[in-house]
Symmetry: C3
Subunit: 144 residues, 3 copies
């Protein structure tokens, strides 16, 4: 395989969140990939925030997202007396911890022009703050 055709593409997606929720972004990501004309390569997503994160999860039963939310709400309680950093309210520090426990970046191989996601996998921005935010996700694609 010749390497001389390898090239890069990049963009930034602006994702509006409704407050704390898992927001699926598989479609806009796949849409951008589809226009890039890359058959084989590597897509990297990076979220430029410290209280929202990236997650690959099941995109079939909505109860999965509800259960994830309930589990993390119990694991990292809003307003926990342990926290000193409260500048932006009781969900401020939990947002940072939930981000630490999940991911700020994902690297997903591309084959036959598509992400190699499994049948039930979707890509999500997980908003950890209670109020709506606009979140920036940088995409970087390398391939041929």
């Amino acid at each position: 395989m010749l390497g001389s055709m390898l090239r890069q593409a990049s963009t930034t997606l602006d994702i509006d969140t409704p407050g704390r929720a898992l927001v699926e972004i598989t479609r806009p990501v796949a849409g951008w990939l589809g226009h890039a004309g890359i058959e084989t390569g590597l897509l990297t997503l990076f979220i430029r925030h410290t209280s929202a994160s990236l997650l690959v999860q099941e995109n079939a039963d909505p109860d999965v997202r509800g259960d994830l939310e309930r589990f993390f709400a119990r694991l990292v309680p809003d307003g926990d007396a342990l926290f000193r950093h409260r500048d932006e309210g009781p969900d401020d520090m939990p947002g940072h911890i939930r981000t630490a426990l999940t991911q700020v970046q994902l690297a997903i191989p591309v084959a036959a022009g598509r992400l190699v996601l499994g049948t039930w996998q979707g890509i999500y921005v997980w908003e950890h703050r209670r109020r709506p935010h606009r979140r920036e996700v940088a995409l970087h694609l390398l391939g041929e």
Copy 2:
């Protein structure tokens, strides 16, 4: 350094798991890398499932894997009354949460023809379901 020699390779490993356990895959991954003839580059692993994950962990004392298992079993109890998603049994939703708390992808640099893993690091598929499964791990390699 000339860039014109950069090239890609990719494959999929099928990993049979015995049910909930950490299954080391360092050897098949390194074996495939060894045949690719890449001296310097980047290897990305991506698991195409939502209830099994990837982990880099100590591969010396088996008690480490036992303790990881016991810790996660306590942190995310099977059959927790919190969970509504129970389609496939009491270990269904815990599988999703354990996956969210660990990784679906790993990117590991390659130098001198080898993964830059530390002395005690191994690569594992962490099966979170109680029954055996066949898991697909997509590998993507870029380098020269």
Copy 3:
């Protein structure tokens, strides 16, 4: 965009930690990147250890790091009776678990010659052991 200019660079940073703490490494990473002459690309960091990890977190209020530390100390207690692996003391197994719950690798796109980190994001080595260690972080850069 022509791909023929794509090239790689790699190095290893040695990071001295003071014992359990979040040690910011944004500056040495960005410094190395600045000398590589890459405008657009992908930087991957990989920590070669099983009881220290990598994290992107807020680098403004130090209380965030303190709260992260307190939260993880409560979540994964040193000397927990659950743990059998105690070769190196009560903080040995917690170091492995805290590493599993965070990251051993980070991939961050590069645009306009800089990491696409958000305004408040810094890159940290999280030392999970109580005593000082020297930690190796492998850096791999690909771009043009």
